[in-house]
């Protein structure tokens, strides 16, 4: 942490906001509100939030593609409004939608995209080879991108973002649609890039991914920041350290729920979350909770685990899809 602070500051946003103008379909949307964020060289920052929280909007502002409507933003110390091309030359962008060039083949997609950065063809031909290998698309190198599967397109999009050897990589849900092998491979590659000093900003709906990959995460809700810190810090600050998961056979679910509520009423220092298929009991000591509950009702299955970032996320953003 302290060593990271000595690294140069690459992104600095304060009070950052974006309101989309009112369209024919509705009123103006404040998609991002008063966001403060910092990113240093070699750091991985996670952006978490429910659908529509403003993650992609934030990413597009950082990518110097979409101008902020509020606050100030510096990327590489430059103003995105005036130095967009110079900033974008040093960024790698993986948008949420793949947006590959439908009229080109896999290899051409890499080379042509690289040309937009003004890179010489000689360099690009060689880089395209390496990136095709990285994306494991050797067999499809000369196929039109329309012939790729969803996951292959995703891998190509990620490979494409590396063609200019960026200093900051912006990844908007990079692993959505990837199989477990490809996801593992990507994490591996991202960690190596990070060790080489590349800064990463990742949005994801997979909390395990954020926990593994990110030094710090920001949790957004309706455009505003609700919490920020390292995954460890967030777990320490917002949830009890252990979680007891209880499953009951259909009819006993309600009885189990009542028993836990009773114990809490009697003073047990737990927090109960009721899900349709199971109960989650957050506690400082999960095994103690397990013993005390099982003395009253017997669940079909029970398990004690450490609290994860997912528990923090759910606690902070609520379980309901729409509140």
């Amino acid at each position: 942490m302290t060593s990271a602070h000595r690294e140069p500051l690459l992104v600095e946003g304060s009070g950052l906001g974006k309101t989309y103008p009112a369209g024919p379909g509705g009123a103006a949307v404040p998609a991002v509100r008063g966001l403060d964020l910092e990113l240093r060289r070699g750091e991985a920052l996670g952006l978490l939030g429910t659908n529509g929280a403003g993650k992609s909007t934030t990413m597009r502002m950082l990518a110097a593609v979409s101008p902020p409507t509020h606050g100030t933003l510096r990327v590489f110390g430059l103003d995105p409004l005036h130095d967009g091309p110079r900033i974008r030359a040093r960024l790698g962008v993986v948008p949420q939608d793949d947006m590959l060039d439908q009229e080109l083949t896999v290899r051409e997609n890499l080379v042509v995209y690289g040309r937009y950065f003004g890179l010489p063809k000689r360099v690009l031909r060689e880089r395209a080879e390496r990136l095709i290998e990285f994306a494991a698309l050797e067999a499809k190198a000369d196929a039109p991108v329309t012939a790729l599967s969803g996951g292959m397109r995703r891998r190509l999009t990620i490979a494409r973002a590396l063609v200019n050897e960026p200093e900051i990589l912006l990844l908007d849900e990079p692993t959505t649609g990837l199989d477990p092998q490809a996801r593992q491979l990507l994490w591996d590659r991202l960690i190596r890039l990070k060790n080489d000093g590349v800064a990463l900003i990742v949005t994801t709906h997979y909390m395990d991914e954020a926990e593994q990959l990110c030094d710090r995460v920001l949790i957004m809700e309706r455009g505003a920041l609700v919490a920020g810190g390292s995954p460890r810090e967030l777990i320490g600050a917002h949830v009890l350290p252990e979680v007891l998961e209880l499953r009951f056979t259909g009819t006993e679910h309600a009885a189990g729920c009542a028993a836990v509520k009773e114990l809490i009423a009697e003073g047990a220092p737990w927090r109960l979350e009721v899900l349709p298929d199971r109960l989650l009991v957050a506690a400082a000591d999960g095994q103690d909770a397990q013993r005390r509950i099982e003395a009253r009702v017997l669940p079909r299955a029970s398990l004690v685990r450490r609290a994860t970032l997912e528990d923090v996320f759910l606690a902070l953003t609520g379980r309901a899809l729409v509140e």
Partner: protein, 263 residues
């Protein structure tokens, strides 16, 4: 690490629109048929109407010019218009709305202005290629005689510019493919009545100002004067009209493009 940054600073902004043209060249290398169709269509009109019907018409009254020689430059103007306009409206529409090609480009150092500049340059180049092909064919048929006809090349470039710019604007106004039919509803009558096939004095007095307001009328006037080697102030007037039209369309398109791509 630093190689990308240095390479990009070395290139600055000057070359960026060219990279888009380069992409199109790569794509169109596979679609020669487009170029062949662009040149063939006006040639077919020239043969069927210029030579065929022209043999019944003889000379165009008041000009002393055989009909085919009168028609050829108008077809040239039309094909420069069509190839620029089709590219810029149809293809650009697809790339904006469906394929998101530009949304990808603006994540690179390319700016919206670079993309527009590149698209207009490309459409002009396409117009030029068509013009050159048609001019060679028309000359071989003995329908172009004046050495001034070489001026047809820059003139066609101007026509290409004006219509490519209009195409960029139109592409942002189309909401779906159906709107494209409305565009055709304007383009077809313009093709038939912009003095392409017969002179202005054949129109009733009341209709003439309407005809003279049509962009294609000015494209036809410019190319006809140049190809026949009978250049007067009308050529300059028409060239000015096309230049202003192109610049105005570019300016209007710029704002709309920025709003569409950088939201």
């Amino acid at each position: 690490m630093g190689s990308a940054a240095t390479a990009t600073t070395r290139h600055r902004g000057a070359g960026r629109p060219w990279w888009l043209v380069e992409r199109h060249l790569l794509v169109y290398r596979r679609s020669w048929s487009v170029f062949v169709a662009d040149v063939t269509e006006p040639l077919l009109y020239l043969i069927a109407i210029g030579l065929g019907i022209g043999s019944l018409v003889g000379e165009v009254a008041g000009t002393g010019v055989p009909y085919a020689r009168y028609l050829a430059p108008a077809l040239l103007a039309t094909s420069a218009m069509n190839s620029a306009m089709n590219e810029a409206s149809q293809r650009v529409f697809m790339r904006i709305k469906l394929e998101k090609t530009y949304q990808t480009m603006i994540t690179t150092p390319m700016t919206v202005r670079d993309i527009q500049f590149g698209e207009v340059s490309w459409a002009v180049l396409r117009g030029l290629a068509t013009t050159a092909g048609f001019l060679v064919a028309a000359t071989a048929m003995g329908l172009v005689r004046s050495p001034f006809a070489l001026l047809a090349i820059p003139a066609a470039a101007l026509v290409g510019f004006a219509f490519a710019a209009c195409g960029l604007l139109v592409a942002t106004l189309l909401r779906s493919w159906y709107d494209y039919l409305y565009l055709q509803l304007f383009m077809l009558p313009m093709f038939l009545f912009a003095t392409t096939f017969f002179p202005l004095d054949r129109f009733p007095d009341a209709v003439r100002p309407v005809v003279q307001a049509l962009p294609l009328y000015h494209a036809v006037t410019l190319l006809r004067q140049v190809c026949l080697g009978r250049i007067d102030q009308h050529a300059a007037l028409s060239a000015g009209y096309l230049l202003l039209l192109g610049l105005a369309a570019c300016a209007l398109a710029a704002g709309r493009w920025r709003r569409m791509l950088q939201s």
